[in-house]
């Protein structure tokens, strides 16, 4: 390929594409769904580049007021906690936590402890709590074997939560790789009108999947050009006597992506599972075809109503959307997920971590 073609592709990567035709919400983030808050705890300390991210539902005590939810296991190479029960009951009863693969257990324990503190009968006269902790493997940049995540990181993420959404190499996204570049946290939202009602679909991704050759960016396929750019940067660093990190690291086949979808539309669990499945379309549009070693998990929930823990409390009596009204929500889900992945790449700065491994942020790599 000519240098001019590469230059054009790199130039294209200096613009953030806008996915689809639907309008975004005011924040273009999952917190456009009213009541949601997002928090991060970031660990950035040499060989440890990791963290925890938490999406907090509107309810103070979701264990007693559960949210309807649905699941799509697009590729099941993953170790997330809480999915089997979510699939059976169609409910979420904790905040949704994201972290690295070997950090899941510590966050599960933190969620259990928190639930017991708020509900002293949890595990006694009340059922045990179904902790919900999703994960990707950040072992390329972070020393995952040190199992550095503990309950305090989860608490710190909770404490930091707000409606402001920080994206990129933060929280659970700190050590994640995406298309062999720096990945991490991305978010977006889309609005649709069904009948006379406006609904919001918000997405939040922990993006850690993909091979650079497959990347699609605004209709372009800049993978090969970016690979050449990585080589140039590497050589420049070496020439300057700096520690250069790897150009295109291995480990990419052990990636994964977690895709959370939230909406204020009244949907039941089966319908939410249908929404969650559309995350696969947004993911594909970035270039992924759900690699063997990738835990590609999507989860959708609605904030339109809650389900009481107590069988004596009246159940909600509200009309769900008609099945034939779901198409705009499907499109919104796919587009919001795609936009979220692009946003994760766009916002992620370069990070150097374990054993000198480095991932370039897309903007760092492509800047003039």
């Amino acid at each position: 390929m000519t240098d001019a073609q590469d230059a054009a592709l790199l130039a294209a990567c200096r613009q953030l594409p806008v996915v689809g035709l639907l309008p975004a919400g005011p924040r273009n983030a999952i917190t456009d769904v009213a009541g949601l808050r997002l928090g991060h705890c970031t660990v950035a300390d040499g060989d440890l580049q990791t963290g925890v991210t938490v999406l907090i539902p509107p309810q103070d005590n979701p264990f007693m007021h559960k949210l309807p939810a649905g699941l799509a296991v697009i590729n099941g190479f993953g170790k997330s906690a809480g999915l089997v029960q979510l699939a059976e009951l169609g409910q979420i009863e904790t905040p949704i936590a994201l972290t690295n693969t070997f950090g899941v257990s510590a966050v599960v324990q933190a969620q259990i402890a928190q639930c017991i503190a708020a509900n002293p009968e949890c595990g006694r006269s009340l059922p045990t709590v179904n902790a919900l902790v999703l994960e990707c493997n950040d072992g390329y940049l972070s020393d995952i074997q040190r199992m550095a995540i503990g309950p305090a990181h989860y608490q710190a993420a909770l404490d930091s939560a707000s409606t402001d959404v920080v994206q990129g190499a933060v929280g659970a996204g700190r050590g994640m790789s995406c298309f062999q570049l720096k990945g991490g946290i991305g978010s977006a939202s889309r609005q649709v009108v069904v009948g006379e009602q406006r609904y919001t679909v918000g997405a939040l991704v922990l993006a850690n999947m993909g091979k650079l050759a497959d990347l699609r960016w605004g209709g372009q396929a800049p993978g090969a050009a970016l690979e050449r750019q990585l080589q140039l940067q590497l050589q420049a660093k070496l020439a300057a006597g700096e520690q250069a990190g790897t150009a295109v690291g291995d480990g990419v086949d052990k990636g994964s992506i977690i895709m959370l979808l939230a909406t204020d539309a009244p949907l039941d669990s089966r319908q939410l599972s249908r929404v969650a499945r559309r995350a696969a379309a947004g993911l594909a549009n970035t270039g992924s075809c759900y690699g063997h070693g990738s835990g590609d998990i999507a989860l959708a929930f609605s904030t339109a109503y809650t389900l009481p823990a107590d069988a004596a409390t009246p159940m909600p009596a509200l009309a769900m959307l008609h099945e034939a009204q779901l198409d705009p929500l499907f499109r919104a889900a796919a587009d919001a997920v795609e936009q979220s992945i692009l946003n994760a790449l766009w916002h992620a700065q370069s990070v150097q971590g374990r054993d000198g491994h480095q991932r370039w942020g897309l903007q760092d790599l492509c800047k003039d």
Copy 2:
């Protein structure tokens, strides 16, 4: 949008994109997988624009020598026959037939009759045969209520079978719509090397889904430009006193797509299900997000070995591919499906059918 922008988008639609980086097989069709043959029976008669397509496995009597297979129900709004048993047993035991939704029963009956003729104990000392007939709804162009498909059409499709693959508005694809343009049959293949072995993945689609606004063609989004072009063509016809057909018809939400994947790689049923799931990525890359009313079904099978009907016959003893070797096959499956859908659009000529309904072939619509 300016006329110049529209012109550029139309020009882009006058070229067939090549999907991905993998090489195609010699025919760039599913019959690149050795032993497979494809046949069509096309009904093109006024209000009837329909037909039957059949993909024939290498075995003369697949009821006695079954093929390993896997299934992915991407969106289950469909009436195909044979899927429940395929999911349970991981086997195909008939040719794979495609037709319109209300034609399924007649083709099922034809397959049963054919199986009994070849296996007189079918349904007696041998089990009943699991007919495999997949469908889309071509009711926009064809008078589906007449239930015009009969056993003879299936037989004619069988009789016409060869390794030559005719694409577009033929066979079961005769009356199908795709992105509100003329859709139908498309096929493609991709080759991969695993270890030192070359394998082929072939795809065949019956494409009947999508909204024009969503179409992605070679990285472009020409939907709006094509909608304007449809309006121009409509006005030109009306001005010329011709019956014009609709510009952008309704009925598109009742579309569907059937995606067949064949490979000569030795895979078991579970692995083939994983391959089939990657059809969702190829489909998404054309612009679909699996509409509510769309029966989006993918099925993958291997020709590398057969499974005997008779328990006394020795089972095959061969090594399957390692799970970590599947990624190239996943990419091939996604790319071959995407290419097949583009090919269906590319090859489909315009068709006028029931009640003056018309679908434009992409090339007819975009020609200078």
Copy 3:
């Protein structure tokens, strides 16, 4: 075993066990769920011993007013029509038909024709209809290869429908075998109280599965004793110069069972799938462990509300039962299915059919 032990076991088989502790409804049949009607068309003519059974929902036009439903594929060796879409959308939109395996297509066509007659836009501006026809293989007693079932049989079953439930060797059950005895249609109901509300769970089975050795009857295992009794009857007939039929025929591994569950409790599709799964418990309690070649399918639906076909019609706004209130319904479903299978055996008279094959009715076999 001593003759005395056999005699005791045969005596036990001369009483119909009552399953469980829950009360039955007034008819102890699926029509205890208000509004349901059941019809049979029986073909009993030499080598043809087959038929059609149909369960009719309360709605005149279920295509426009669909019923919420759920599915459990306990063992998927079966060719029933309509299950994939039912699983996706959680809806039933036709009467539920039962027939023999090779008769499915004809009944599908009859359901399509009937739906078009009632809804002239079916397959045009309205979607195609999802025919729902479930099957077992009655090929041991009936010449299934003649494909004797046609639309008229379906119509006759509809025409005969009432709240009276005839059980045994009738309708679709005419040619079915169960535990190598005569099987067929069985039904039962159970009532539960949730909160202050009474609900009914009704079951209807088409029972065609099982090996005699496995039969459990009122806590007993009379299989071996019944096998000896079959031999005695055979010898008596031979001694009398009669055509004796087989004692214990082959073909039993190709059996199946369809288990329909209806309730007036307000449940959504996911909850109904959970109810349907409990059919596996009732089935197991009769001695089956879901044989390889058995299509063991359960389907549950609610009559508490309907879902409009038209998206402009308001959706129902009613409270579903709380998840923790489902246990009584689960028990009712399991018990009603078990009782239905026992009832099918109990009511089925002996039938002689194809090639002199015979199945003994349990009461015929065990009478003093």
Copy 4:
């Protein structure tokens, strides 16, 4: 009911029923499958009545030599770790651990640490390990909120492993309840002949489900008689001035059962999933119908071959069993699970735990 009837039912409970007609292996335990070992660590200390049980595969390093496996989620109200990946890949790569619900995380961490110790590249150039830890809630007898299980308990269970199988209130079974009696660990095996080859199916259960009224014991329904017996024992203790514990405690709806099946038959993952599903039949035959709040999980694996972690290692090339040969294995699986549950009840001694809660061992309760 008369005292005589109760006495007869209690007498029946003083005999351990033998389930089915198939022969057991020499140990009548899961360790009849060659190479398997079982270990327990029991915590029995006042308010803590809990533990860990581990089933160890024949391979020293199962992370490098994985076992083919299949899964059946009969009711998904559970928090076990490792199931999503097991379902996707059909593989087990660690020992299989059992513990209480809130102990899962600690054992997951122990498994991760152990895997890293044996495979220093785990999570780096090798994928992360899929810890496999299954659970039931023993919170009725044990103070689950104390989260008392740690890595040392897992190690102790490993260290104690042998082919001798101790059943009842031991290991993870220490605090479990079953049919409101004392439950826990049970095991059994059955042998079948396929062709000329003998295969063993072994089962191991962690039994913590069921309501006493539903119990089936050797064809009898002694639940009500046992409830009366519990009241008598309670009154006797109170009369004697002892702390009596509850007669029939609450908490039973939060029960669960884990059912592990092992076989030396050569089966692939799909076939093993089919075997696992038959656990539902064995479970039902003890009286359960899979309560809402019960995590009823079955898992089956084969020791006939291993799958290499390294894609460069040749894959096994051996013939699986023919699908039509699975019926004896299905029966063996159902019977071994049923027998295991009966064995768990049979061997479990009475235990008193948290807050004076008590569960009676069946033999303790029924002794003369």
